[in-house]
Subunit: 412 residues, 2 copies
Amino acid sequence: MKADLITIGDEILIGQIVDTNSAWLAKSLHDIGIRVNQIKSISDEASDIIDALDSSKAEIIIITGGLGPTNDDITKQTLSRYFDSELVFNEAVFKHIGQLLVGRGIELNALNRSQAMLPKDAKVLFNRTGTAAGMWFNSNDRQVISLPGVPFEMKGIVEEHVLPELLNQNGGHVVVSKTVLTTGLPESMLAVKIADWENNLPNHLKLAYLPKPGIVRLRLTAEGANRTEIEESIQKELEKLQQILTKEIFGFDEETLEQVVGRLLLEKKCTLSTAESCTGGQIAALITSVAGSSAYFKGSVVAYHNQIKSDILHVNDSNITKYGAVSQQVVEEMAMGAIELLKTDYAISVSGIAGPSGGTQEKPVGTTWIAVSDGKNTISQQFTFGEHRGRNITRASLMALNMLRLLIINKI
Amino acid sequence: MKADLITIGDEILIGQIVDTNSAWLAKSLHDIGIRVNQIKSISDEASDIIDALDSSKAEIIIITGGLGPTNDDITKQTLSRYFDSELVFNEAVFKHIGQLLVGRGIELNALNRSQAMLPKDAKVLFNRTGTAAGMWFNSNDRQVISLPGVPFEMKGIVEEHVLPELLNQNGGHVVVSKTVLTTGLPESMLAVKIADWENNLPNHLKLAYLPKPGIVRLRLTAEGANRTEIEESIQKELEKLQQILTKEIFGFDEETLEQVVGRLLLEKKCTLSTAESCTGGQIAALITSVAGSSAYFKGSVVAYHNQIKSDILHVNDSNITKYGAVSQQVVEEMAMGAIELLKTDYAISVSGIAGPSGGTQEKPVGTTWIAVSDGKNTISQQFTFGEHRGRNITRASLMALNMLRLLIINKI
């Protein structure tokens, strides 16, 4: 089965919001063997919605957006006209909207009541977390599913109603992907290093390189009728790849470096703290974004001001004066200071010039020192990132987590 | 002028990555008065690329992706065939690729050399930050621009080559949008509160509601030939709206709460610190994502473990035992602790149960206490967010920044 995704909303076409719904939907459909042909974003205009429906060649069309209570939302009206299905009052949906709003201390108004008017020929998809119900139209040889644009409402409806039904309809055909996450080598060097392996891949396996700053992902894909067979053939190739990229592979699929580091710390029953200057708490935030991180993460000192580096982390004042806050001496003392103050087994520390200002000829914007320590060994490294503040913070956080990973597995 | 955006890459259709390039491009084009009709994501297949080109009705087509050095990238080959323009070796591009890779300590290989082969009829768009050059084809009544998919490379080329040329071509016609950022009222209550204002808007102004968790954005749009006139008519309506939403409006357009709070602190020449438990450094990371934040942000103690709350922030141990770490007493002492330890004028503190585990009947997952303090007044509030860890952290961070904003402007 093939699907098209259509996102409705001027806010996407003028670049006000990024369409994250489509990526989530595409992934969910891919996992149950439904191929997405096309993702399209169009405006809140009835004629554009109708054009998109007319031109789609897919058996399943999933539309998100335009179901809100306000006047600029026209998806429901347009679909009910397109499928010639009049709007009727839905008592259950109205009751649910009432309960939802009362729970939030909001009074029911006419706009909310209009959300309980639904096309009589569509299957209503109950929305537990919001007021806009989903709709499922069946016409001739295709199905059109309309969902609210608020991400968590859309996801709730898809998980509860849409995926189980589509999985049922699709019976059998599967697509399997496995993604290998690497760091430490840029795309072209990685390609050379694994060229022999790549050239010897069986024909039914497709390889894609997916680079992003600091990380290159390698995706292997195959499809067919037998999931186990496909998975085994992918697994066989992965094992060969792991022999080649012993240091570079840090995880698979949706794993993040912060999850991998968390898993390693749990396995070793060790604790971690961070002492951050230019990353401003970002590394701690990444680590604590992982559920269960309180088992190994004790805390952080964000020492943005130098006074905090010396007063709280006990960095030697004279080293700050002599070498500067962005220096090997200071970053190593920050790591040791975190271990002593927060009483942890490991610590990460970072001090750099994130920019856009603060750079000098000797230490331009992007200059960053990172240290990792287990109390006995402190390993530090200087990086020269770029001129972009946000990207510098992201890369520094990534490199710091990777240095900790290599320290824990004794490969640094 | 109208444009279509086409993103190429299977990784988008299987949901492995979110297409952020299109949003950025759409915004950049919108700002120079070029309307985006459609955003489309298609696969790395020559036939799909050709179909997309054939079916587009726009005068400008911007394609991103598929220009990498590896075998799965086929955009350049496909376009050179489509426009019947053979690939020729470009000395300047080759030299640039060489310099770029040497600077990164990478050896030049055959894959890199192939990136210097470019269609002879396309204008070459030099890529300062990467190895894949952009291409600009002019054919009959339309223009096709092909760009690399790596976001910062794409942006560099667009800013340097594409926008200036398109701005020049479009001479005159403008679209103006202004977005009002509000927090504190859900969409339907906000709609009722501003109903009179909305109903009395002049016809040429279009209003859209754009909700996301904790924030509702209101976007006013108009287009025409005279930018000043349009801007003045929008401004007039905004002033009326500000009389109605005195507390709720926190900013405009792309502003973030962390930028607004930063601006207020700069104006008052005051400093800030944070003491974070469940937000794990996220608030500090948001604050320091703003360039220049070192002028008012001194640092943070991420007290994930209770021992750090008492040892470092001097929260009374007996209060943690008596009331629990997620309590008014503890969160207020955390704020005071941060002010004393980090010597700042203001502090934010948060303690909550982010989930998915750790909830009790009395304090379910999502229960969060937030305090803001100026040293004299400490104001705290309990929130009950939901069950989703990431969303709880996001909402807590947002609410904390908003409480600080209201404290600084004396509206809490």
